[in-house]
């Protein structure tokens, strides 16, 4: 959906906190911040909670574990119990390495797949940038454009006081 935004561009990460804190105090809606690398302090500044993606790892890993153990048990005990060197049909300990590998494989692939889905990243997607350079060296604080002229003026003021190199309006599907 196309929306209207106010994009403040910064040359370094130093100005981000100075822009975000007062903006949140004024109850301006921060859509997102764009940066060439992760700025760790932003999570708490923007009030982003912890992602639940590790839960996907846990569930998928558990599925991998159960599947691998069950499949080996089925193949070696139920479907064709074959005497190999007199070892018991149900050699559970010998099934552990493969079970471990499949736990890791399922967990890792599912986590990455869930991340791509959640972050809406897929092959062929055309990038939408708030401004050129945010993947290279620039930082951008993107606010939802306030409706009233008073708030809009206040938002511009906050960004400029924080040292923004430019503050521009943008209509896009960010």
């Amino acid at each position: 959906m196309r929306r209207r935004f106010l994009v403040a561009t910064f040359l370094d990460e130093g100005g981000l906190a100075k822009a975000i804190l007062p903006a949140r105090k004024e109850r301006l809606r921060i859509h997102d911040v764009y940066a060439p690398y992760p700025v760790h302090a932003l999570d708490s500044l923007m009030g982003i909670g912890k992602t639940r993606l590790p839960l996907v790892t846990l569930v998928a890993g558990a599925c991998g574990l159960v599947f691998a153990l069950a499949f080996q048990f089925y193949g070696a005990v139920l479907d064709w119990p074959l005497n190999v060197g007199g070892k018991p049909d149900n050699s559970t300990l010998a099934f552990i390495p493969i079970a471990f590998e499949l736990t890791v494989l399922f967990g890792a692939l599912a986590t990455v797949a869930a991340f791509f889905l959640r972050a809406r990243l897929y092959p062929g997607k055309r990038e939408v940038l708030p401004t050129r350079g945010v993947t290279e060296h620039l930082f951008a604080v993107v606010l939802r454009r306030p409706e009233t002229p008073v708030l809009l003026r206040r938002a511009r003021e906050i960004m400029e006081n924080a040292g923004a190199a430019s503050v521009e309006e943008l209509e896009a599907e960010l």
Partner: protein
Amino acid sequence: MSFPTFLGKSGTLPLDLAASSDAAPSGEPDSPSESWIDGSPSPRDVGDDVARPLETRPGRGWWICLACAVAGVVLLVGMIGYLFASGIGVFGLNNGVGWAVAITNFVFWIGIGHAGTLISAILLLFRQEWRTSINRSAEAMTIFAVMCAAMFPIIHLGRPWDAFFILPYVPNQRGPLWINFRSPLVWDVFAISTYFTVSLVFWYLGLIPDLAALRDRADQGLKKAVFRALSLGWNGSHRTWSRYERVSLVLAGLATPLVLSVHSIVSMDFATSVLPGWHTTIFPPYFVAGAIYSGFGMVLTLLIITRKTMHLERYITARHLEAIAKVLLLTGSMVSYAYATEFFGAWYAGNLYEKFHFLTRATGPYAWCFLLMVLGNVIAPQVLWLKSARRSVPVLFVVSLLVNVGMWFERFVIIVVSLHRSFLPSTWTMFRPTVADLGILAGSFGLFFTCFLLFIRYLPMIAMWEVKAIAGRNAAHLASSPAAGKPEVASA
């Protein structure tokens, strides 16, 4: 001395880069202002420096190296064709020595891969900042090394076209008969496929932000289209960054036990047998330490060459090389300790066959291989106790080559020397490598280096976003510190 460069004429460097050198600043980097990169490059400088090899024509050095490596690939293809046409009789194998150079190569290449995962996953969990400049190339090395490794068990099968028999596929065309899940050889298949897949996914995930940066640097055209397709629409959103970092941490947490399991399982191919020299409980940790040791040896060899030829000394500094040397010293000591433990165990256990094997290993007809192994893995790393040696690029280069040679011979000693004189003297025999053995070994190096050379030409060999983060933090620190008005070039 002039060095053949990997960059063409248009790839000359900005003047400020010339200021950085191998000379290191005093003390370890412990504050943001004294970081793991030399000078105070801005994030934009980092992008320019790392992307330069991708945006300029390659130099003569790169072409010469690529020509040699491709010649190796041609040799490999030729030798494998000869092998497939004639059968595995073209190897020097015989009734006593059923595994030799091909399996040695397999264990060697799998071991080489371990350093990449250690750097990208274990050092990430330990929050080691020095990994950022070298993790991308080390991870790429892992992938290429595992590709080389995975080739060997398949071409060694005799009927490689039936390799898929090792997989439990559905529908099962063998009726209800399944593969033997109790066999370490089957565990190997699962371990190596998982290791390759997870390493590849982890590496690609790390590349996405850099691919996006390259996409935004590129003008319209094929390059932009390729980077656009590969970067999946990445736009630097912090909400995505936040999830991305969490996912990276989760993958590192998964890759850490995975990498330890892979060489443990490879070692079980030997340790679960009853052959003296193989039947040892210390094999899993001993193999893992050896794998990391050999992998770091290869990382050191490659980085010393590429940092010089690609002019990346500012990012891969003498301090990085020193840190790698310390890991070499640690893992080399672990490997030496394992060698001593094997000999002590053979003597202390009083098993006739075990004692005989270890005496033969050190004094028998393959004693020269044993001595090369000791030279590369026990004696060579001892020079790294000296700080001056850890800081000397020529010394490190020689040590890294000795490590590579020593670790190849370690696997040869374990495999061939154990087999050539086992329980029955009537089976005793000598193994002599043939042209096919040596050709495929040389060819595997050709394949590895071809992949690596193409990688450094077409993808950023340094994780730009991670180094930009260090550069950006340094810049913010300098800006906020009143005493640091003038950024200081660390090596000046």
